[in-house]
Each structure stands twice: as C-alpha cells, then as structure tokens.
Symmetry: C2
Subunit: 182 residues, 2 copies
C-alpha cells in the first residue's frame, strides 16, 4: 500500500469551527508530483437502529440546513470529546426519541465521505427499548419530530426521497436483509 | 415540516476550493433563537456497483488523505460541472477500472453526511462489463489499484476495516440482500 501514499509537505488550517475544522494539505503524490487536498476534520458520530416491539424502526424528522429541507433519519449525533461511541449512542437515542436502552450492539463503522472528510460513523443496533417519562433533553439548537415506521413505510419514504441519507438508507437495507434471512 | 425550518439571516463564505466550499450560516431556529451552521458545499458524486461475469465486485484500492491510509472502495468520483450523473458513472468506472458498460441502472441516491455537508451520492448498478484495451485515463492526481472480490472476501475486508466507507459498506450489503433474495 506504500506505493499509493501521499506525503504531507505542509498543512494550512483554514477554519476551526464548533463542529468541523477545515485544513488544506500540500502533498507529494506517488509519482513525485505535487497536489492539494481539502480536508474536513470531524469528531465522528454515532447512529442507532432502534426497533420497537411492534417491529417499527424509530426515526426522527429533522431540518438539515445543508439540504435546506427536513428529512427523516435514524437517531444520530456527534461524539463529544472523550465520550465512548456507545455512550453517545445511548444518549442520542434517549435525547432524540425518549427511548432508553441497555442493549446496544455495534454493527459497523464507516467513513461517510472519505474523499474530503474524516468523519467516522458508528452504527449500533438497539434492543429492549424503554420509553422514558422524563428523558434526557435534546441540545438547545436541535428540534426533531419522532416517527415510527414499518419496513414498507420506510421503503416508501426512500422512494419519496424523504429518507435520503447514507446511514438511514443503510439501516433500511439492513432491515430488508434481516427480514430476508430470518 | 415548516415548523422545523431554520431561516438564514446571513451567509459567510469561508473557503472556496477545488472541490469543496465552506460557508457559515447565521440561522433563526424554530423557537426564535439564533445559531450558526457550518456547511460544506460539494458538487455531488457517483459510485458504481460493478459485477464481473465471475460474480466478483470490482473495487479500487486508493489512498485517502483525510484518513491517512489506503482503503478499498467501489469506483466513484465527483460530478463535473453540467455532467449528468449517469455519464459520470460510466466515465469513472472506465477511468478507474478499465471496464466499460452501456448498462447502468440507478439504484439509490443519498446524502453522505447531511449534518454538515450537501454532498449527494448517486449509486448505479453496472452490468455487461467490457474490459477496454485502451481505457480512459484517470485524473493526473489519482492513483488506484484494481481489485476484484467475492462476497466472502468483501465481508472479510469489512471485518478487517479495509472496506470502511459508507458507499462500499452499502454496496456489500446490497450484494448480501441480492444473494439472500435470489
């Protein structure tokens, strides 16, 4: 793999924000030529596939400013400094949906867009959901509507592009695979 | 859905690069409070699930500077200005793998990370692959190794975190679902 490596000559920090940081690296390519790489640094995130006893998946409708529209996603959130991803998963699930669980299983982790960002997303499967009377409160700048959908409804929402992000499309396909192999 | 909308008060452009652009929006939240949203603008991308007659999936090993390592992914690339995504798909497949196809079927499109980026990724299924003697050449700053993997090998590469990005994890799960339902 060494032959593909791009060596960093210089790194310039362009922006250091609340959530992301932007750097531009000057690199030496495998053939010795120079190029620039624009890189978004992100703390990483978790997402939770949470199934109710009625075999519905818990999702949240949320306005996404980059898209200028509300979409429906599985519960998710960014990892706080020094927070273990599994703790983030439990916290975000409760904050966004009011469900608590002690049963979290790590399914897979993936980089959302390795061409320009280092964000790593960890996906968990949550069982044994318990609705909390007084759940943790969401972040003060976060507003969500909770929806619980059947597999058919989820597939219809993909058709309608209301479910339209990587982690949720993955989650619905995971559900299809579960149903196909059970 | 209107109740979730975040209205833009001001937009500041922080960076306008070769591939991405970074803006920061001042927004009014549904409760009237103010917040900031850090947004990466991206031209969009395509990825191709390409199966050989030997029932292997065509992938490329590529160094990803944001991760500082080489990983194995399905062929992909960003959409050029005014390029139809299906043309991008055919072009990137040939440039990166040497395979040409006239049989591209759109499977799904998803936002890779809607919390901070507007990148929309279109995934195509390619059939009827033809190896080209003189394929289109890759971008001058792009270096890849071609690998063709069985489903078992792909699952093993996920286990080893060599396959570790959203589109490729999705593609392998798509393959599992195909096998489970055929």
């Amino acid at each position: 793999m060494d032959s593909l490596e791009e060596k960093t000559v210089k790194r310039e920090t362009i922006f250091d924000g609340k959530i992301i940081k932007l750097v531009v690296d000057d690199v030496v390519l495998p053939n010795g030529a120079r190029s620039k790489r624009e890189i978004v640094k992100h703390p990483g995130a978790v997402a939770v596939i949470a199934m109710t006893p009625e075999n519905k998946m818990v999702m949240v409708e949320q306005y996404r400013k980059p898209l200028e529209k509300a979409i429906v996603e599985i519960p998710a959130g960014k990892i706080e400094p020094d927070e273990a991803p599994e703790l983030t998963a439990g916290r975000e699930l409760e904050e966004e949906t009011g469900y608590k669980t002690d049963d979290l299983k790590h399914l897979v982790s993936f980089y959302t867009s390795p061409g320009f960002a280092d964000e790593l997303l960890h996906i968990y499967l949550a069982g044994d959901l318990k609705k909390q009377a007084n759940p943790l409160q969401a972040d003060e700048d976060e507003f969500v509507n909770i929806v619980e959908v059947s597999l058919d409804e989820a597939l219809q929402l993909i058709e309608e592009k209301v479910i339209c992000d990587a982690k949720t499309v993955y989650a619905v396909q995971y559900w299809q695979l579960l149903e196909a192999t059970n």
